[in-house]
C-alpha cells in the first residue's frame, strides 16, 4: 500500500459515498412513502439530518483531493479544459452535485418550495451525482496504457463502492439520528410514540441496507476473479497489475468488506426484524459494518492506484 495514493483514494471513496448516500436517501424517501405508506413529515424527520452528513463527507473528500495536487493554489484552473479532460468534468460535476445538494438541503430544512419542486431538485441532484461517478470512472477508464484501469471493472467497482458505502452510511446515520433523538427525548420524557414509529421505519430501512450490502458484496466477489483473469492473460504490465490485486493488502480488503457487508449484513438483517427496546446494540453492529467496509474500500482504492502499471516506457 502506498501512502502517496491516499489523498486520491479518500477523495474518490468519500465523493462516491456521498453520491451513494444521496441516492439511498432518495430510495428511502420513495419506498417509505409509496410502499411503506409513511408520511412525508416522518420520513423527512429521519432523512433530513443525514443530508448534512452527506455534504460534510463531500467537502472532506474535496479537501483530501487538494492534498494530491502539487500546486493547490492553481486548483481553480482544473475547470479550464471542460469538454476535453475528464478531470475537468469530474470537478465540475462534483461542484454541481455539491451545490444542488446544498440547495436541496436548504429547501428541505426551511421547508421552502413545493414538494414537487423539491422532489424534482432531488432527482436532478441524483442524476448529477451519478454523472460524477461516471466521470470519475472515465478518468481512469480512458487511460488506454494502464491495463488495470481501462477495463469495464473500473466503472463497475466505482458504482459498487457508491451503492455499498452509501447504503451503510445511511444505515449508520439513521441509527445515530435515533440515538441522539432518544437522548433528547429521554431528557424531556416525551415523544415515545413518535420514537417507536421512527424505529419501525429504521428497522425496515436497515433490512434494505443489509440486502443491498450483501448484493454489492456479491458483485465485488464476482468482479474480482473476472478482472484478475483478464489481467493475468494480458501483457507484462497487466500481469504486474494482477500481482498488486492479489497481494496481502488486497486479501485484507476483501476480508474486511466480507466481514462488514456480508457477516454484519446478516446480523443486521436478523436484528432489524425485532423492534427492540434498546436500539444501541443494533447501532453498534451497523456502525461496525460501516467502519469495516469503509476501511476495506479505502485500502481497495489505494491498491487501485498502486495497480496502475503502464504500457510503454
Amino acid at each position: 500500500m502506498n501512502v502517496a495514493d491516499l489523498p486520491m483514494a479518500v477523495f474518490t471513496v468519500l465523493a462516491q459515498m456521498s453520491v451513494g448516500a444521496f441516492l439511498v436517501l432518495g430510495a428511502v424517501q420513495v419506498l417509505a412513502r409509496t410502499v411503506g405508506g409513511r408520511s412525508a413529515e416522518q420520513v423527512d424527520r429521519l432523512t433530513d439530518p443525514i443530508l448534512y452528513a452527506v455534504g460534510a463527507s463531500l467537502v472532506l473528500g474535496f479537501a483530501a483531493s487538494a492534498l494530491h495536487l502539487g500546486n493547490p493554489i492553481n486548483a481553480l484552473n482544473v475547470l479550464r479544459n471542460l469538454g476535453s479532460s475528464w478531470l475537468s468534468a469530474e470537478i465540475a460535476l462534483g461542484i454541481a452535485f455539491g451545490a444542488l445538494g446544498l440547495l436541496f438541503t436548504l429547501l428541505q430544512h426551511f421547508k421552502r418550495g413545493s414538494l414537487a419542486l423539491r422532489q424534482a431538485l432531488a432527482s436532478v441532484t441524483a442524476v448529477v451525482g451519478l454523472s460524477l461517478v461516471a466521470a470519475m470512472s472515465m478518468i481512469y477508464y480512458s487511460v488506454d496504457i494502464a491495463p488495470a484501469w481501462s477495463t469495464w471493472a473500473t466503472p463497475v467497482q466505482f458504482l459498487t463502492t457508491t451503492v455499498l458505502l452509501g447504503a451503510l452510511a445511511v444505515g449508520t446515520a439513521l441509527m445515530a439520528t435515533i440515538l441522539v433523538r432518544r437522548r433528547a427525548d429521554a431528557a424531556q420524557a416525551a415523544g415515545s410514540e413518535e420514537q417507536a414509529e421512527d424505529l419501525a421505519l429504521i428497522t425496515t430501512t436497515l433490512k434494505g441496507v443489509a440486502a443491498v450490502s450483501v448484493t454489492m458484496l456479491g458483485v465485488i466477489f464476482l468482479v474480482t476473479p473476472l478482472q484478475l483473469n483478464l489481467l493475468s492473460q494480458g501483457g507484462p504490465a497487466a500481469v504486474e497489475s494482477a500481482q498488486v490485486l492479489s497481494g496481502a493488502w488486497f486479501v485484507t480488503r476483501l476480508v474486511l468488506v466480507f466481514l462488514g457487508a456480508g457477516l454484519m449484513g446478516l446480523f443486521i438483517y436478523r436484528f432489524a426484524t425485532v423492534t427492540r427496546e434498546d436500539p444501541r446494540p443494533l447501532a453498534t453492529v451497523v456502525s461496525v459494518a460501516f467502519g469495516l467496509v469503509l476501511v476495506g474500500e479505502l485500502i481497495g482504492r489505494t491498491l487501485f492506484y498502486e495497480s496502475m502499471t503502464r504500457i510503454g516506457m
Binding site: N71, N74, N77, L79, S84, S85, I139, M313
Partner: protein
C-alpha cells in the same frame, strides 16, 4: 502552424551511454528525479534449436526517449488546466503558471514525457531545448550523442531521410498519439506488443 518538429533516433548506433540524458539534465538544470530524456535497455531472449542442440538467442538494445511532441497528444487532451499545450512552434510545453500538478498527463503519456517536479509542484517536460534553439543551437541531447544516433528537425524531412517507423518494443503503437518520431530499428528490435523482453533498467527510466 509551422512545420511539426520531431526527433530521429538511430537505434543501430546507440550504445546506451546516456550522454543524451545527462546533457539534457545539465542543460535544462533538472532536479533529482526528473529526466526529460531517458535511455531504457530492453532485453530478453529465448532458445534456438539445431536438431538436438539448444543455444541461447538473446537480444538487448537501447531506446532513448524524450517527448515526441505528438500530433494527437494525450497529455494536452487530459490536462484539466490547459497548462499542457502546443506552443506556437508546434512543440508541446507546460505553462507552469496554470499547472496544478495533478499528474494526469503523467499517467496518460506512454513515453513518460511529462515529469513531475515535486519541489516546484508542477509538471515539466522536454521543450526541444527552446532556449538553445532560440540561440540558434541544437537540442542538447542531439549535440551530446557520441555516436550521432540522435537528430531533430521538421518531421517531414526526418521521415523523407529515414523512413516512418515510430515504434519498436517497449514503445506502444504510434497510431494512437501520432508521435513525431522516426526510429531506425536495431537489428534485433522486437515488434510492438511482442512482449518477449523487459526493460532491464527500470530504476533508471
Amino acid at each position: 502552424m509551422s512545420e511539426r518538429l520531431g526527433f530521429y533516433f538511430d537505434q543501430t548506433r546507440c550504445t546506451g551511454c546516456k550522454a543524451c540524458q545527462i546533457a539534457c539534465k545539465d542543460t535544462n538544470d533538472l532536479p533529482v528525479g526528473v529526466l526529460w530524456r531517458r535511455v531504457a535497455e530492453y532485453a530478453g531472449g529465448s532458445w534456438r534449436t539445431h536438431g538436438r542442440t539448444f543455444s541461447p538467442q538473446v537480444f538487448a538494445y537501447y531506446v532513448s526517449m524524450a517527448c515526441n511532441h505528438c500530433d494527437d497528444p494525450v497529455c494536452t487532451e487530459v490536462c484539466p488546466t490547459t497548462a499542457m499545450h502546443r506552443d506556437d512552434d508546434g512543440v508541446i510545453v507546460v505553462d507552469e503558471e496554470l499547472c496544478v500538478g495533478c499528474r494526469y498527463c503523467e499517467w496518460s503519456c506512454p513515453y513518460s514525457a511529462p515529469q513531475f517536479d515535486a519541489d516546484a509542484g508542477h509538471m515539466t517536460k522536454c521543450d526541444l531545448c527552446a532556449d538553445e534553439r532560440a540561440e540558434g543551437r541544437e537540442p542538447a541531447c542531439v549535440l551530446a550523442c557520441p555516436s550521432r544516433a540522435l537528430d531533430w528537425g521538421p518531421i517531414d524531412e526526418l521521415r523523407a531521410a529515414h523512413g516512418d517507423i515510430d515504434a519498436v518494443e517497449p514503445l506502444p503503437d504510434g497510431s494512437v498519439v501520432q508521435p513525431n518520431l522516426v526510429i531506425k530499428p536495431h537489428r534485433d528490435a522486437e515488434p510492438v506488443g511482442a512482449g518477449r523482453g523487459s526493460i532491464a533498467n527500470p530504476e533508471e527510466v
